[in-house]
């Protein structure tokens, strides 16, 4: 359960304060499939970073499963990111020097899972995203779509409740993009909370709920069928 109450985020560009989010209040229940739409600069990435505990709000409160996030220590935030949240980024953010398998293992390393267990789980996840035969390939040896699927497998490593995706199809051709969206839908059907930040209306159309952001404000929140 994600509860945002009048959350704002102000950055400082030199001496000029920039309001990225301005009093956004929204609740997202467990298992929802939500897209966040808006033009660039509307604050959708900031929203995702806040929800993902990569950043903390400047004002308002954020409760994750009833727990206030603002006062948490860095180690607690790390643990939340590690166990509860899986990220998928536009530019994949894989470790270039590591194989697909090692990339998927990474969150499990930080969870202090045993090597053998880690490896079999990582292989299972790569199988799930259709890359069982690419485990020992480096990101540079994979196509964009394959990279994003590795990233998705990594996001699923510690079986998180929430998948956060920031423009996941932005760097992909339409075919690969569709495959990724299909995977999101599968995850939603499996009971995960999936939140996709995008400016692509065709992706938003696949989700069950659409949040529209503009200039840091939530301008609409509509169900989608």
């Amino acid at each position: 359960m994600i509860e945002l109450e009048k959350v704002s985020k102000v950055y400082r560009m030199g001496t000029v304060p920039v309001v990225a989010l301005d009093g956004v209040s929204v609740e997202i229940a467990a298992g929802e499939f939500v897209s966040v739409l808006g033009p660039s600069g509307s604050g959708k990435s900031t929203l995702m970073h806040l929800i993902g505990c990569l950043d903390t709000p400047s004002g308002g409160t954020y409760r994750l499963d009833g727990r206030r996030v603002e006062g948490l220590k860095r180690n607690d935030l790390a643990e939340i990111r590690n166990r509860k949240i899986g990220f998928v980024f536009q530019n994949f953010n894989l470790l270039g020097y590591a194989t697909a398998l090692e990339n998927v293992e990474l969150p499990m390393v930080y969870k202090k899972m045993r090597g053998r267990e880690r490896k079999s789980k990582a292989l299972e996840l790569l199988g799930l995203v259709g890359l069982g035969d690419r485990a020992v390939h480096r990101p540079s040896e994979l196509s964009g779509g394959q990279r994003q699927r590795v990233a998705l497998a990594r996001a699923l490593a510690n079986d998180p409740e929430i998948i956060l995706a920031d423009e996941p199809t932005g760097n992909l051709d339409s075919q690969s993009g569709r495959e990724i969206v299909q995977l999101f839908r599968k995850l939603h059907q499996a009971g995960k909370t999936v939140i996709v930040v995008t400016h692509d209306k065709t992706i938003a159309a696949e989700t069950r709920r659409v949040l529209n952001l503009f200039d840091g404000k939530l301008v609409s929140d509509s169900p989608n069928h």
Binding site: D55, I80, N93, L95
Partner: protein, 412 residues
């Protein structure tokens, strides 16, 4: 394991920079090891040379009184008769051994070769007191020589070389001392001697004091050499010496000018402090060099942190705790320092070995060319390297752990 693999990947990516950094550390470590080893060797050689004259001994030379006492005015010369010396043994339990000593210039003649050198009249125990050990096949003066006033002589090794030829067998041969035939019974082993009071032992000759008296009839003893029972009892032995002499020759027991006592124990303690000072000084110089290498490591670690900002961001995003990031970078700098340190220590050790193989042609070089590496020095170097590795890793690592993931993930 993951971290070590990553380190070597980093190593191959940053070959030149890593090579230079590792070299700097190696150079620093080699400096520490070399300087400390040379210092240690220097100290040991100095101690050895110092002990060449004898270990834990005191040499007392009679002087003059400076205080009036018991009806005698100041400025009276003290003269010691040999007959009075047994008092030392009887009344001062802290004195373990003693020998009287006389000295005369004599003509030493072997065949047609004549040389004027010092002959010393001494007791058998003198050899032990003054570290005059015979070469194999020879001996020092013994009790029978004393009792029978034998005309036997022990030669310093260089005196033997001069008279008989370098390294020639001299034991059993006859030598004329002021035209009286003496038999050589021993030649002193070559030794290192840096302090002396009547010439170096290598140029002197030694004969039984009884024989000396028959030849020269000296009235007074030139000086007395004695050794306390233990180092701890040295001050008591010295006090006892003054006490006995004061009562025998009637001078004020606190009048220290009556005898000048060369206390090698006290001198040794002072010299020991000087050696430690020298070693510390050399060690600090080495450590400073190593520190420069450490700054190099810190520098490259900062660069690596900067270059890997995005990677750090990724790791933070998937749940790495700050401590994990810190450990990663500290380990990397420790590993860099360990590799450099191992190379440097290895280099220095082979240099130490090599230097020790150089044959000594000059006496002064004996002090610098005998470096010693000990396990204590190894411990010092390794802990120094450890501290520098940690310090040069901690600061860049802290920087890494505070990377803002949002910024980092955007970083290209």
């Amino acid at each position: 394991m993951h971290l070590i693999i990553q380190f070597f990947r980093e190593l191959s990516k940053e070959k030149m920079r890593m090579f230079l950094t590792v070299s700097a550390i190696a150079w620093g470590a080699a400096n520490v090891v070399l300087l400390l080893s040379v210092g240690e060797g220097l100290g040991r050689q100095m101690r050895r040379g110092f002990h060449g004259m004898g270990e834990n001994i005191m040499i007392a030379f009679p002087g003059q009184t400076t205080k009036p006492y018991a009806g005698f005015g100041a400025g009276r010369s003290i003269r010691v008769r040999e007959d009075d010396l047994p008092l030392l043994e009887r009344r001062v339990p802290e004195i373990a051994q003693y020998s009287a000593e006389w000295i005369r210039d004599v003509d030493l003649k072997v065949g047609e070769k004549i040389q004027r050198e010092d002959a010393l009249g001494v007791y058998p125990v003198y050899g032990e007191l003054r570290n005059i050990l015979p070469e194999s096949g020879g001996r020092f003066i013994d009790k029978l020589d004393m009792d029978r006033r034998r005309r036997v002589i022990v030669l310093g090794n260089e005196l033997r070389d001069d008279l008989f030829g370098a390294g020639a067998e001299a034991v059993g041969r006859t030598i004329m001392v002021n035209n009286i035939p003496f038999t050589v019974v021993g030649v002193m082993q070559k030794k290192m001697q840096t302090s002396c009071y009547s010439g170096h032992d290598k140029d002197d000759s030694f004969i039984p004091s009884t024989t000396f008296q028959t030849m020269f009839s000296p009235e007074y003893v030139r000086n007395v050499v004695f050794r306390p029972r233990s180092v701890a009892e040295a001050p008591a032995a010295k006090e006892g010496f003054y006490r006995v002499m004061a009562s025998r020759y009637r001078f004020h027991p606190e009048d220290k000018e009556t005898f000048w006592v060369w206390d090698t124990i006290e001198m040794g303690a002072i010299a020991g402090k000087v050696f430690i000072g020298i070693e510390l000084f050399l060690g600090v110089i080495g450590a400073l060099t190593l520190l420069v290498g450490g700054i190099g490591v810190a520098n490259i670690m900062y660069v690596i942190v900067k270059e890997r900002t995005r990677e750090i961001g990724i790791k933070i995003a998937v749940g790495a705790r700050p401590s994990v990031i810190i450990v990663q970078f500290v380990l990397e700098s420790l590993l860099t320092v360990a590799i450099g340190g191992a190379l440097g220590i290895g280099l220095a050790l082979s240099l130490v070995k090599g230097i020790n193989l150089i044959p000594i042609s000059h006496e002064a070089m004996e002090f610098l060319t005998r470096p010693v590496f000990s396990s204590l020095l190894a411990l010092v170097c390794i802990s120094l390297l450890g501290v520098i590795g940690l310090l040069s890793g901690v600061f860049p690592a802290r920087r890494a752990s505070t990377v803002d993931p949002v910024e980092a993930l955007r970083y290209e």
